[in-house]
Every structure is written in C-alpha cells, then in structure tokens.
C-alpha cells in the first residue's frame, strides 16, 4: 500500500502525491523506466514520428524534387476519393486480403491439425519442413521463381496443365488471371508460417481434454469444434490480425511480377502500396503518396480493432 491515498488531505497537491508514490514505488518505477524507456523511445523514433511526419506531408503538395511544398489542407484526400487508380488499388487490395487471409489460415490450420500428431518414422517433421520451406526465402526471389513458373511459353505450370489438356494460359499477362496468380503464390508462400504458429498453439492444449472427450465418446469433429478451436482463439486472433496486416501491405510480389516486358500489366494487379510507391517514387508526389499511406493506416487500424472485437476470446 502506498502511504498516501489520492484523497489524503495531507498531500493536496498532485505533484506531492506523485513524489510520494515515486518514493514508495521508486525501485519498481525505475526498473520499468529502464526496461521500457529505450523500447518506447525506439518506437517513438521509428514508428510514431514517421507516422506524424507522413500525416503532415499528406497535407502538402510535397514533391520529392521541388523545394517549394505548399500547404494544401485536405486536397490530397479529396483527390484520392476521385482517383480511379486509387479505387482500383483499393479494390485489388481488398480482394487480395479477402481471399488470401481466410484461404491461407484455413489451409495452415488444417495442415497444423493434421501434423500435430506423431506419424510413423517421425514423418510429421518432414512434412513440417516441407510446408515451412517456402517461408525461408524472401518474397523477391520467390516472386522471380514464380514469374518463371507462370511464364506462358516456358513455364512449368502451363507445361503441367498441358498433360490435363488445359491450353496454355497467360497467367500474368491476362488481366483476369493476374491477381489470382499472385494470390496463389502468396498463399503457397504463407501457409507454412501460419502453420508453425498454429502448431505452437496446438501444443499448448492439454492432452487431458482430448482424453476426457474421448472417454465421453466425442467424435473427432466434436473435439475439433468443442476443444481445439475454442482454445485456439487467441492464436487465431493473432494470426488473423497479422495476416490482414500483411495482406493490406502486399507489395514485393506485385512489384516483381509487373516488372519488365514479360511482366504483368500493372493496373489489374495494382494494390495500395504499389500505387503509393508509384506516386511517391515514380511521379515524385510524396504528399499524395503520404495521403494514401494515411488512408491505408486507417484501414488497417479499423480492421485490427474490428478483428480484436469479434475474435478475442470470450472470458
């Protein structure tokens, strides 16, 4: 107990109360400050200040190469609302997120559940390794490899589909297929990552629950829906939030797959970060790109709040 309660008339001044608490809790406060201070400072420098700076830039006609950057209020945001390329990017990003997040997570969860059991000859570890393998290389080399896989003339995908009688497809050059080709590659690359996270969650569920359910005659489906899924809610929430953030920030694979004469047309796969990059670093309109970044921040923030609200474990 601190010696002074907030309402103690002996110390009417708030500063005196703080000082008194500091004296009482001193070592704990100092420890907290010492441990959290650098982290908070780093967070302030690499996150908060750039965000505030971006918000400030978004209110200016900020060209990367022009020294004069007049204040224009919300003009960039007004222009964004009427920009067909931004709307296209918003649509594609939404489509990308709406498809990749559930498909990836359902696949990852299914694989994790299937591999969360001992197999003959410890085969489960081989499968885990194989599923995790695509996560190891970074997105750029993986995208380059998939660009080759999707190549309409020499790509292995068309070659394989040829055996099934499917005619060669322009996976990246056909406007209708391009976004789906990128979604497929992203799902393939991400499943292993979420699988590992789900496996960690599954390991935390006590075996006793399943044994008790087995004694009570619960089927495998009932064990999954009544034990596994409810107890995995915190991990599920984490994965949904992370996957949504990643999906909204999709860029590298789109950039690589649209690059060069054999690349995909850009507009059918234009996503928000790509549009932001084009406006910022190609057309040098940093103010406009910053406005897009702020809109994306708000979208991701709103989605995260929404996901926390609906997916957090019910106590």
């Amino acid at each position: 107990m601190p010696p002074v309660s907030p309402g103690n008339p002996a110390h009417p001044c708030w500063w005196a109360r703080v000082r008194s608490q500091w004296q009482w809790y001193g070592p704990q406060w100092k420890y907290c400050l010492a441990v959290l201070g650098p982290v908070c400072l780093a967070y302030l420098i690499i996150r908060i200040i750039p965000i505030v700076d971006t918000a400030w830039m978004s209110l200016h006609n900020w060209s990367l190469v022009k020294p004069v950057r007049p204040f224009i209020g919300l003009d960039n945001y007004v222009k964004l609302a009427g920009d067909p390329l931004f709307r296209m990017a918003l649509y594609n990003t939404t489509l990308f997120a709406v498809v990749t997040v559930p498909v990836t997570l359902v696949l990852a969860f299914t694989v994790a559940v299937l591999l969360d059991r001992p197999m003959r000859g410890r085969l489960e570890n081989v499968y885990k390794f194989l599923f995790f393998l695509p996560v190891v290389p970074t997105m750029v080399p993986v995208s380059v490899v998939w660009k080759w896989i999707y190549d309409p003339s020499y790509g292995i995908l068309n070659y394989a589909l040829g055996f099934l009688g499917v005619p060669p497809q322009g996976w990246l050059i056909d406007s209708r297929l391009a976004i789906w080709a990128i979604i497929l590659m992203t799902v393939w690359k991400s499943v292993g990552y979420y699988m590992v996270l789900f496996l960690v969650g599954l390991k935390d569920i006590p075996v006793d629950y399943y044994e008790a359910a087995g004694i009570d005659g619960a089927t495998a489906w009932q064990r999954l829906t009544q034990i596994t899924i409810p107890l995995m809610r915190p991990m599920l929430l984490f994965n949904v939030v992370i996957a949504t953030i990643f999906a909204c920030n999709v860029f590298a694979q789109v950039y690589v797959m649209t690059e060069g004469p054999q690349g995909s047309p850009a507009n059918p796969v234009r996503v928000i970060v790509m549009d932001m990059y084009e406006n910022g670093f190609r057309y040098l309109k940093m103010g406009y790109a910053s406005a897009e970044a702020m809109v994306l921040l708000l979208i991701v923030f709103a989605l995260t709040v929404f996901e926390f609200r609906f997916l957090r474990p019910k106590v």
């Binding site: 190469v65 060669p168 690059e259 004469p261 054999q262 047309p265 670093f281 190609r282």
Partner: protein, 443 residues
C-alpha cells in the same frame, strides 16, 4: 650586406613559391574518389574501362561505377539528388534528367565543355535538346536511332528479300512471317510488339508508331509558350491504336503469350521488332547464332525515327566537381577515346555519339553491319527526340496502362468508335497531368 640581402630575398621567394605550390601539390597527390551511377547495366564495361584508363593517368583518382536497372535508378536519383546524397556523376536520359535540372540537382556545363559540345563534334539535336533556359547540361555518352530489327533467316524462309518500308508492307510481311500451329495459334510472331509490363515502356514503343503516324505525346500550343496539350487525340492516335489492334486480332501476327521485346527476338519467337542498338550487344551475348539485320523504321504518314541518347551529368552532390568534369571530358574527348568507343561497339552495343567516329573506326559497318541503320539517318528521315517535360514519364506510364487495357480488348477490332473513345480518354488523362503541373494550354 648585399649577399645577405640576396639570401633574404631568395628565402622569401622560396617561401612564397612553396605557399603557392604546396596546395596544388597536395591536391594532386590527395586521393579523390568519384562515384558514377548509370541506369544502363550493359554500360558497366565501358564506364569501368574509362575509370581504369583515367586512373592510369591520375593515380590519385578512383571512380566507383554502379549500375542499376533503369526503373531503379530513376527512384534512386529522385531520393538522392535533391538531398545532395547522389553520385558525383549521373548518367541519365534527358526526360528523367529534366526534373533534376529544373531543381538545380544537376549542374550546368562549364563554358569549356559547352564550347566543346557546340564545336560540331555532336549532332546539333544533342546540344539543343540538352539545353534548358539557354544553358547546356550534360555530355552525350551513348546514342542510337530506333530501327527495325528483322530475322534474315525467317525472311529468307518466307521468300522475302527486303525489309518493309511502310506500315502496309510491315503488316503484309508480318503475316507471311507468322507461324501457326494446327489449332491456328500463333507460334511465332511476324511482328513483335510490346504489350505488357508496368512502367512507361509500352507507351514509349507505341509512341514510335504514333510519331510515324504524325502524332505525338504532347504538342506546344504556341511556340515557346511553355504550355502543352496531348497530341494524340486525333487521326494519328486512332491509326496507331488500330495498327496494334489489327496486328493482334485481324492479321494475327503477334501472340501476347509469346516472349516479348528483346527476349522474344533473341528466342526467335518474333521475326521483326523495333529497338535501339544495344540489341547488338544483347544478341551477341544471348543469341549469337541468330541471323538478323537492321533497317530504318517503316514509314507511316511521316518518315521519321527517334534519336535516343543519354548524357552524363555532374551533380550538385559532387564534392569534387572539377575532377568530375575532367573525367566526363576524358570520356568524351580524352586520349583513350578510340579504345572506349571500341568497347561500346564490341561489348556494349550502344554507339559512340560523336560525329567523327568513322575516322577512328572506318571499318565498323563492314565488321558489324547492323550498326549502320542504328547510326546513319536516311536522307528522307526526320529525327525527333523524347519529349523533355518533367511530366513525360508520368504521362507515358499512365498512357501505357490504358494501352495495355486496350490491347486486350478484342471488341476494338473494326470498331472506330471504341478506338476513338479509348484514345480520347487516354488523352484526357494526359491533359489532366499537364493541368496538374500547370503546363496545360487548353484544346
């Protein structure tokens, strides 16, 4: 006393001389490091050799050459030059350099460099189009005309003896050169066209044909007004889009699923296509067995071709501009000029930009006949350069996306209204870009 006076005078003179010479000697001996960036990776052997030759003459000066893909370097310049963190020497095409010239990131040429450029050593267009507000910026380092490359073996097989001279011949020869499988799918394009890929490339390639048709990306409303409008919402623009749509869907002489551009030509998936001389180096490296020749661009309503070149600029970032200019002039007019030009011809494929190159390489066209039409302008041909407004890249890139969409729209075949609409909407967007940058003059 007199002797002492002489000694005293001698000491003072020696001290004064030492004061004058010491800084020079120190500078001469001090290590100097220059950086050079280029957006043309194939130019690395040339710049490396120039750096090596220069270092042999000036052992204290080292030049670090870095090359990047074109799109990457445009971004690198955009973030580094305005903040004075760029290289000492930047190689760039004029339409990318223009914005950096306008904001002072690239410095004007010293008078002696300008005098050299204007001495008749270079084509006048190099100098006039490298000037802004009566000041010349940069020194040309490579050049090429845009020309038609055609596979001579395929021409022979198709019974064709000469390249096309105009659009009609190009389409009819394209048909003869195209190969189809049993299902009627194109397995070899008669005419390779650039249809995809992000960036400005698709529009730039379309623009060559637009220029032949008599159109342009922009036109200045009245001479020297500094105000512009899109110059393709007209018959030329519609004809050019129709040319592509007809090639794809009526004559079926190009297949989008085949490799495009240089890769398609090198893989023998295209019989003809339009490009610059760097293809000579590319083909030598990647497809030495392919037999090809080069011809002037087939004429549309106009007989013209693009004069493409890049300049090397000294940047405001440079801490040693004197040495940087000295190196630039070493490349343009130094004692190793012939050797450097030889590297361009033998390894790189881009061509030396000086007019007097034939004096030093009299046999180049007999050794590499492909260079002839990349270098020599036929008498009837008019030359033009890239538009040099700072918004050119944005206009090209946005036009490219509209063209990509149009190329995939089969309903545009025999649909003049659809073509006119597509062209009009694209031109409106170009005008919007001009408006946004206060460069628009109205219709």
């Amino acid at each position: 006393m007199t002797t002492w006076r002489w000694i005293r005078t001698g000491i003072v003179a020696a001290a004064l001389l030492a004061c004058l010479v010491a800084p020079l000697a120190a500078t001469a001996g001090q290590p100097v490091k220059l950086t050079l960036w280029s957006g043309y990776p194939e130019m690395k052997p040339y710049f490396d050799a120039a750096a090596k030759f220069y270092n042999e003459l000036h052992p204290n000066v080292t030049i670090e050459v870095s090359t990047f893909p074109l799109r990457d370097i445009e971004r690198k310049y955009a973030v580094s030059l305005p903040t004075n963190s760029g290289p000492d020497i930047a190689e760039s095409h004029i339409y990318i350099a223009q914005m950096h010239i306008e904001n002072g990131s690239l410095v004007p040429n010293p008078p002696e460099v300008t005098t050299f450029l204007k001495s008749g050593v270079f084509h006048p267009l190099f100098v006039s189009d490298s000037s802004w507000q009566n000041t010349v910026y940069g020194v040309p380092v490579l050049f090429s005309l845009d020309s038609l490359l055609y596979n001579t073996q395929m021409f022979k097989e198709a019974g064709l003896s000469a390249p096309p001279k105009n659009w009609d011949e190009m389409l009819s020869m394209g048909k003869k050169l195209t190969k189809y499988d049993a299902q009627g799918n194109v397995t070899r394009s008669g005419l390779g066209l650039r249809l995809f890929g992000a960036g400005s490339g698709v529009a730039a390639k379309w623009w060559y044909f637009l220029k032949s048709a008599g159109g342009d990306l922009f036109e200045e409303c009245t001479p020297k007004s500094g105000k512009y409008r899109a110059a393709y919402d007209n018959e030329a623009g519609r004809d050019t889009l129709k040319l592509y749509i007809d090639a794809l869907y009526k004559h079926k002489i190009h297949e989008p699923k085949l490799k495009q551009d240089a890769e398609g030509f090198a893989n023998q998936q295209a019989a003809m296509f339009v490009r610059e001389s760097w293809l000579v180096g590319y083909m030598k490296k990647n497809a030495p067995a392919v037999q090809y020749a080069v011809a002037p661009l087939p004429a549309g309503k106009k007989t013209n071709t693009l004069l493409f070149w890049t300049n090397v600029y000294v940047t405001r970032s440079s801490k040693q501009p004197k040495e940087a200019w000295d190196f630039v002039m070493f490349m343009a007019n130094g004692p190793k000029l012939k050797e450097l030009e030889q590297i361009l011809y033998n390894t790189v494929g881009w061509m030396p930009p000086r007019n007097d190159v034939a004096k030093r390489h009299p046999n180049i066209y007999s050794e590499v006949p492909q260079y002839k039409y990349f270098a020599e302008v036929p008498k009837t041909y008019e030359l033009y350069a890239y538009p040099r407004l700072a918004v050119t890249d944005e206009a090209f890139t946005k036009l490219a996306e509209r063209l990509v969409k149009a190329y995939q729209d089969k309903s545009l075949l025999d649909n003049p209204t659809g073509i006119a609409k597509a062209i009009h909407e694209a031109a409106e967007e170009t005008n919007e870009i001009l408006k946004e940058n206060k460069l628009y003059c109205g219709k």
